[in-house]
Symmetry: C2
Subunit: 232 residues, 2 copies
């Protein structure tokens, strides 16, 4: 029996790439500078895993994703020769708080919420996720984050901490994610798993393939299909 | 400037006493036993502060409110000579997940949410608060709890932890509570404070008096009045 659904957020619920490119384009227009903003968005995102891994390995103390994002942003702006006041960099860094949902996300979550407890389980910090949900109308029952467990996914503690704080068994919790690696780690921790295909996550030039549907408990085209498959 | 409102929950948002008495009456009817259920509700609630204080003083390791509630419930049932299976005691203990809101709570929170981030800041554990919100339709932006900070209110760490995880300054956060002691501790930690008068919290036989309104930043009759005063 599934009692709660925990959602990966970046890429699964929201289209980070289009949103961040849009924010970078606006920033460039305000500053009167130009760059390959799509490439910068990809490079910004690509900095995320190595930075988290330094925290996961204990080379850095616990550091919020906002702060990891900001350090990477400063590196990228410096490399591009772009100067900006701190307040403007802070604002640009909060682009990750203003990501737009995929077209089916709000409607699908609203349906799934009728039947299940729905929570975030993201590496984004709580304030990022809260601000994002408020702006985008994501109807979470609660906002859980790696920040609360002081362990970034795919650390086992993040998945087990989520089940524990919801006071349910790991196999009563289903992780919903567009990323096989996240789902495999959740499965190894004893959770149920739902893959959702988000072929546009990395933009038009990267073709994503579906993983073998037999690998996960559910494999869905989007959140409405997930709601159908879970009778929500 | 206020950016977020953090709400005490038991007594401030929900009418714990009427709800718990109702659950005890139903339990008694199911078990075919009788007792002074109103007195038992009051005794159950009265066990909460001393039990939390044992955690706050470090005499007990971190213990969720659900578990503190359950230990007290078993004491009370034993003292009353009432026997029940574990599963039934578990269910009765979850009465605290099923508390009804005051009549103005949902409408007031809905208005306040338009202008501010609204969160719980309760000694109730996350699963209790999440289940309560889902049942009662409380539209929180996020669910924060003493459990996340591993400090029960009125420990300073709970108030400061709430501001920190929301990524705002303590004086950008306002605690909303019906209890002067909670508000005073929040004020001492640098938060803004809103007193809400809930004269029926302890039932018809206990007359509550309003504290001096000058002591807090806002003093309101209910959440609609609070929304009026905060222009929400």
């Amino acid at each position: 029996m599934i009692r709660a659904l925990a959602f990966d957020v970046f890429g699964t619920v929201v289209d980070w790439r289009s949103s961040v490119i849009g924010e970078l384009v606006d920033f460039g227009a305000r500053r009167g500078v130009n760059a390959d903003w799509a490439q910068m968005a990809d490079d910004w995102r690509a900095g995320y895993v190595p930075a988290m891994d330094r925290v996961r390995r204990g080379e850095l103390p616990w550091t919020r994703l906002d702060d990891l994002h900001r350090a990477r942003l400063v590196e990228l702006l410096t490399a591009a020769g772009i100067d900006a006041p701190d307040a403007e960099i802070d604002d640009l860094n909060r682009a990750w708080h203003r990501l737009d949902p995929w077209p089916d996300s709000v409607a699908g979550l609203t349906r799934l919420k009728r039947r299940f407890t729905i929570t975030t389980l993201s590496n984004g910090n709580v304030s990022l996720l809260t601000n994002m949900a408020k702006r985008a109308g994501l109807p979470w029952d609660c906002v859980l984050s790696a920040e609360i467990f002081r362990h970034y996914k795919p650390d086992r503690e993040a998945y087990l901490g989520c089940a524990q704080i919801l006071d349910i068994a790991p196999d009563e919790l289903m992780l919903v994610a567009a990323h096989p690696g996240d789902l495999r780690a959740a499965r190894d921790a004893g959770l149920q798993t739902a893959f959702v295909f988000r072929p546009a996550e990395h933009g038009p030039d990267r073709t994503l393939r579906r993983p073998d549907p037999a690998e996960f408990d559910v494999s869905a085209d989007d959140f409405l299909d997930l709601a159908d498959q879970l009778d929500a």
